[in-house]
């Protein structure tokens, strides 16, 4: 029975794969994004995809001189769908982590964006560590430990919302699992709504995504709090995901990203969308 089901699924998947797996340079590709992670990628009120990564994807495609189609896809289905060939590239503010590298490949880093908490201004954490500008790289855990311990103290017993299947969730599980209740949401929009509704005490997300939410009038009583974290479970910044077999495509994308960093395109786009420079330093 089990093998029958698997065989049937295998047939369905095999016939549903529309794109070539060839290692030679493709003429046209499909890029998938989440479309729910402002300001990186989101859907405008008139139904179009927009955001930093949409602009960047279009720029990269122009550099590579290939045709690109950009589609939106549920966050937690992105990697499985890439693997079965529903599209060719993921550009969805996805961190390059060791765990993801086991199943797919990534281009070089095109942006670096640490993660942090956002809480009500009058909460313990809000009062103690509002708009903390400190930054910790978790590759050096010893240095980050005092800051994490302080956060743990302030967050004890609290309910924290986070998007499922993210490095942000990994971070909470690794450092706070015994002290907080973690609630998993499909999108950042949903955990933001619950933060505003008072169902959860804090959310944990990328700083740029928090900033986009906090800029909205409904979130006037909330603030980003505590230091920002990157490295460690967050991997090596944001990159574009590709299948391991698509080496030619990966090389083309790497070259285009290098150019976009070198001529300041990424700096320009990040200042337009996230009001800070997320260009990787190296």
């Amino acid at each position: 029975m089990k093998s029958l089901v698997l065989a049937a699924l295998g047939v369905v998947l095999a016939t549903a794969v529309p794109v070539a797996h060839a290692a030679d340079a493709p003429k046209s590709i499909t890029i998938a994004t989440e479309g729910a992670y402002a300001p990186w990628n989101f859907v405008t009120p008139d139904g179009k995809l927009d955001g930093l990564e949409i602009d960047l994807a279009n720029d990269l495609c122009a550099r590579m001189k290939i045709e690109c189609k950009i589609i939106a896809q549920n966050w937690d289905g992105l990697i499985p769908s890439l693997q079965v060939g529903k599209f060719d590239v993921i550009m969805a503010s996805m961190f390059i982590t060791d765990k993801r590298l086991e199943v797919i490949d990534f281009t070089r880093t095109y942006a670096v964006d640490p993660s942090a908490f956002s809480v009500p201004k009058d909460s313990d954490l809000g009062k103690a560590m509002a708009n903390d500008a400190e930054q910790f790289n978790l590759n050096d855990e010893a240095k980050a430990k005092p800051a994490i311990d302080k956060l743990r103290e302030l967050l004890k017993g609290k309910v924290v919302g986070v998007q499922s299947a993210t490095a942000n969730l990994e971070f909470l599980k690794k450092y706070f699992a015994d002290d907080i209740e973690i609630r998993e949401y499909k999108t950042v929009e949903e955990h933001d709504l619950d933060l505003a509704a008072g169902r959860i005490d804090a959310v944990f997300a990328q700083k740029t995504a928090l900033a986009a939410t906090l800029a909205k009038p409904e979130f006037a009583d909330f603030t980003e709090a505590g230091p920002g974290f990157d490295g460690g479970v967050f991997g090596r910044g944001t990159g574009a995901g590709v299948r391991k077999a698509d080496t030619a495509l990966k090389d083309m994308l790497n070259k285009a990203i290098d150019e976009a960093i070198a001529d300041g395109t990424i700096k320009k786009l990040s200042e337009k969308w996230v009001h800070s420079d997320v260009t990787p330093k190296s």
Binding site: K2, S3, Q83, S164, R183, E184, E190, L193, A197
Partner: protein, 245 residues
């Protein structure tokens, strides 16, 4: 091809979500059945109440359960201050109660239609006979109409219970980590969607198969008199009213 060690690893984790799945389904089916019975009976007389009930049924049968869960959870979240004022926020703050409410209202709508149909299918002659024997309206309902109607409704209601079990899989969109929610979590760690969903599917299949058998056994028990095995001689329904409840 089948990696048994992986299944051995994920099945206990998936089964850990089963209590929540059962709580959601059990509570909503039980509450939903009581409400459905009330709505089905309320529709039999008058004009205004049946119209309201039909409106409710139309809304909850005509919209997807997913939309209902979203609306009840995130929609109610917008009215926090009003709900705090009347002391209900404590309930709606919890994703569990929001999901239970959505599932209950959904199954109430379907259940009331099933029961309305089966109550209407009880022959009018039986009611007349009951009245002729001097039974009150309540007695007629309690001893004649409902036992027959509920037995009639059983197969379709069994279907509805199974649909509710499967409906609980939507609770993960409001952060409840039942079987499907856990499955999605495991997929995001392992990226092995097929194995994990086959595992989750097997759990639902086992659960629903058990329910099908239980409902089937109950149905057999309630229709003993219809079997031509000599005990009751296969007499028509009305002759065996005493046995049916």
């Amino acid at each position: 091809m089948i990696d048994l060690t992986f299944y051995a690893e994920i099945l206990p984790r998936l089964i850990a979500g089963l209590p929540l799945t059962l709580e959601l389904a059990g509570l909503s089916v039980t509450l939903g059945f009581c409400l459905a019975l009330i709505l089905a009976l309320a529709q039999r007389h008058g004009v205004i109440i049946p119209a309201i009930v039909r409106g409710f049924v139309a809304v909850f049968r005509g919209t997807p359960l997913l939309v209902q869960i979203f609306l009840i959870y995130y929609g109610i979240g917008q009215f926090r201050h009003g709900l705090q004022a009347i002391g209900l926020w404590g309930l709606f703050r919890e994703p569990f109660w929001c999901a239970t409410l959505a599932l209950t209202l959904n199954t109430t709508a379907y259940g009331s239609e099933i029961l309305r149909g089966s109550i209407a299918s009880v022959p009018g002659g039986l009611r007349e006979a009951a009245r002729a024997l001097g039974l009150t309206r309540f007695q007629t309902l309690h001893r004649i109409v409902l036992p027959l109607a509920l037995r009639q409704a059983l197969p379709s209601y069994g279907n509805e219970i199974i649909l509710m079990i499967k409906g609980t899989s939507l609770a993960s969109i409001v952060t409840l980590m039942e079987v499907t929610g856990i499955a999605q979590g495991i997929i995001s760690e392992s990226y092995r969607a097929i194995e994990v969903f086959v595992g989750a599917g097997l759990i639902y299949l086992t659960l629903n198969f058990t329910i099908i058998r239980l409902v089937g056994a109950l149905e057999t028990r309630l229709s003993r008199h219809l079997r031509r095995d000599g005990n009751t001689g296969g007499k028509p329904v009305a002759a065996n009213l005493g046995n049916v409840h």
